[in-house]
């Protein structure tokens, strides 16, 4: 490391089931509490025990947009983790390894610090369970953070287990801390001082932000079936939703989950489910039912690697086609994609609003990297997204309620069971305005256009509000059009490219269906070339753009299971600029 600088990356790797994840989370929270910005990334094996868990924390005193391009400090807790990750350590970087587990290595280009973590835990504290606390002490000392930051975390984490456990962990933390003080030549602390700690921040991941956002958005009914990496949305909601008068039900499968959601929404609740690719494919039939019978439903898809069971713990943006086109015959749906952890909080509120007002399914595409990305965000503004209520009809006395009344916007007032005089049958079969099954050609045409008019209305009224533009597109060498979780890394790459004299700008639509075509075409017309980076293999979004707009982008599609890093995008920007 070239002297002190507060922007560096710590990567941890160790055996699954040995507390690497909690070590990473503790380190992250400690740093965030000290006032730094943090941005994490994690991957883990699909099995509970065995395989390597990787946890990466980038820390800085300024806004972070990605998990970084290279590793400055690599902490290896097992040999497999060492072998798999040592190449990512940049020249001059520091290797700290558990010398009880990892054989000694001679690395001329790195600073190498062996620490007998297990021996310390056993000898000093008498418990191997405290190994990750020893490691936390080691890391905190090495980067120049105060030991108190670790104490606070230990206290909080172990308070419930009693004073003795807290003391043991304190001891372990200090043992690790002192080991570095004694054995490592002093060097400039890496962590610069933060001038003023902003207390109005959260350190939170995408799934948690989404769960909180949904509660704030008025969610009262959640049904789901466990699937990685979506499960912790349900786990975050289950203990708290009843406090707000809501219900969480674990269904027998994804089909049931969406069935429960449709039943609850039909009966007046704000309802949602979350799943990942394989679950979304099971839901397709009822997504069309929601569109055809005009029932609000929010379906969150936390995309993962695939296809099939694929790479359940790795990230991907491979479900776009399923979300857009996973339909028999044709039916309208809205597809949205949050672009950051902060955005998860707000976007889900919009999704619930749109489902409720437009009475259709809204699919929200997150992904593993976003779902499990823990980072510091400004404390969300609770009054930013106003609530939209369902449009209900006036009570009727003549029994002539036209549930599917043809209207200009396509939205027909929707009665809720219990409302007097408005009883009707919601149905997926083609129907007339009174919801009676009707098969005439005129009716089909009229009803289909009514249902699709909702998308048109939404597009005209709102789609453009969900577009973010970064940088100055006018005359830019490269205009990036991206979607979802890659926004931050793209922004960072743009800054990097700028340093080399290449000007780039980016456009991120958070509503993908309907697509804000006008702004996209306008953006594309201002830039020299359009580049579409995405984390899938076939370039799904680039193909979608080609089909919906006059834009002819260069596709940079890469499905590796890992998020993009800013360096590779910078290189791609420069390559496209020179094409």
């Amino acid at each position: 490391m070239e002297g002190s600088r507060t922007d560096f990356v710590v990567r941890l790797a160790g055996e699954s089931g040995e507390g690497v994840l909690s070590l990473g989370e503790m380190l992250t929270t400690a740093l965030a509490r000290l006032g730094y910005e943090v941005y994490t990334f994690r991957t883990y094996p699909a099995e509970i025990k065995g395989g390597t868990v990787l946890y990466q924390v980038r820390v800085a005193d300024h806004l972070l947009l990605s998990y970084g391009s290279c590793v400055d400090i690599f902490v290896a807790l097992n040999e497999e983790g060492y072998r798999e990750n040592i190449a990512s350590l940049r020249p001059g970087g520091t290797l700290i390894y558990d010398s009880d587990n990892v054989p000694t290595h001679d690395l001329p280009n790195h600073r190498v610090i062996p620490v007998p973590i297990g021996t310390i835990a056993k000898k000093e504290i008498g418990s191997m369970l405290t190994k990750n606390m020893v490691a936390l002490g080691v890391i905190l000392r090495y980067i120049g953070a105060p030991v108190e930051a670790g104490e606070q975390i230990a206290e909080q984490t172990f308070k419930r287990k009693g004073e003795e456990v807290v003391q043991k962990n304190f001891q372990a933390l200090h043992a690790g801390y002192h080991y570095i003080s004694q054995h490592v030549e002093p060097l400039d602390p890496l962590l610069g001082k933060v001038e003023k700690v902003n207390p109005d921040r959260l350190v939170i991941n995408g799934n948690e932000a989404l769960a909180l956002g949904a509660i704030h958005g008025g969610l009262t009914f959640y049904a789901g079936y466990p699937i990685t990496p979506a499960t912790d949305i349900m786990e975050a909601l289950a203990p708290v939703l009843p406090r707000f008068g809501g219900v969480v039900i674990q269904a027998e499968d994804e089909i049931a989950a969406l069935g429960l959601v449709l039943g609850a929404a039909y009966a007046g609740q704000r309802a949602m489910t979350a799943t990942s690719g394989p679950g979304l494919s099971l839901m397709v039939e009822q997504i069309n039912l929601a569109a055809q019978a005009e029932i609000p439903a929010v379906i969150v898809d936390v995309q993962r690697g695939g296809a099939s069971t694929g790479l359940p713990t790795k990230t991907s943006q491979g479900d776009l086609n399923l979300a857009l086109y996973g339909v028999h015959n044709e039916s309208p749906r809205v597809v949205m994609a949050p672009t950051s952890v902060e955005d998860c909080f707000y976007l889900i509120q919009h999704a619930l609003n749109i489902a409720e007002r437009y009475q259709l399914p809204v699919i929200v595409l997150s992904d593993q990297s976003l779902a499990h990305r823990r980072c510091t965000i400004p404390k969300p503004n609770l009054s930013l997204v106003p609530r939209w209520e369902r449009i209900v009809p006036e009570p009727s006395t003549n029994g002539e309620y036209a549930r599917y009344a043809i209207t200009e916007t396509g939205i027909s007032p929707m009665a809720i069971p219990g409302m007097p005089g408005l009883a009707y049958t919601a149905t997926g079969i083609e129907h007339n305005e009174l919801s009676d099954p009707t098969y005439t050609p005129e009716n089909l045409q009229a009803m289909k256009s009514k249902r699709f008019r909702k998308l048109q209305h939404l597009s005209e009224q709102y789609a453009e509000q969900f577009v973010r533009i970064w940088g100055e597109p006018e005359g830019a060498d490269v205009g990036i059009i991206g979607w979802g979780s890659t926004e931050g890394v793209i922004r960072e790459a743009i800054q990097l490219a700028e340093k080399e004299g290449v000007r780039a700008a980016a456009l991120y639509p958070k509503m993908l269906m309907p697509l804000p075509v006008r702004v996209i075409e306008e953006f594309a017309s201002k830039v020299k070339r359009v580049l579409v980076p995405e984390k899938n293999f076939t370039g799904e979004f680039a193909a979608y753009l080609r089909s919906q707009t006059n834009v002819r982008p260069v596709s940079y599609a890469k499905d590796t299971g890992l998020p993009f890093d800013p360096e590779e995008i910078r290189e791609e920007i420069i390559r496209v600029a020179r094409m």
Binding site: H216, G263, Y424, T425, G428, P437
Partner: protein
Amino acid sequence: MAETQTLSVHTQPIQRQPKDYKSDLEPIWCPGCGDYGVLNALFKAMSQLNLDPDKTVLVSGIGCSSRLPGFVVTYGFHGVHGRVLPVATGIKLANPELTVIGVGGDGDGYSIGMGHFPHAARRNIDITYLVMNNQIYGLTKGQTSPTSSTGFQTKTTPFGNLEGAINPLQLAIISGATFVARGYSSMPNQLAKIIVEAIRHPGFALVDVFSPCVTFNKVQTYDYYKGKVYEIPETHDPTDKFAALRLAEEEEPFPIGILYRVEQPTLDEQVAMVKQQAYTENASVEQLFRRYQ
């Protein structure tokens, strides 16, 4: 929410007649279809209970029988094939004040929807599930069903059904259903009585009804059932699980009536209890933020 809508069109409590539940939509069933008998028995039962159409929801899947909600002037939900029970469960949890009745065919409920059936039973959600069991697929024109008998010949089983039939009554009992009954569409008064009891019953109530398909099932016809059904005698103790299972085993003659009935806490009650205990007047997201600070 629904409860806040207090405005009522009916100022006087009225006694509704079976015909008051009949919608303007004419049933599309073949003349003689057993489902007419089920519909009429349902009208009778609803009138006996004087159910408020505005507070009653009929949920169905896909099939001839699943068209039923359209013929009744209650709220209805005609969904997709096999998904009656999750939807009905969602509705009941959303608003426990509603009377929720699931209806459908044997294909819908016991084949494509089979994954949901034991779960609705074990949850003991307070809904009534009325299955019009014609031992065949009607709407798709006569294929074999999971309740078709072994050897039953259809277009998809030209060499005779090679598979055994499932026994929905036993399955319901062992899965945790708290009310299990069988009706016959040609015994409408008896069926109406069963339906009344099923709707009154707090918990998951299965009413499996023999409902002949006159067009495609040439074996289980009205003639076939003549002399092959009998009413369950008063001496049967419906709280005796093993007696109920034994009764459900009987074939030719088939017992008609309530085989099993016990009381257990229902899912909707328990959910309401959790909500009541957990509900916090001033729960706020602001508070939840603290965990992440």
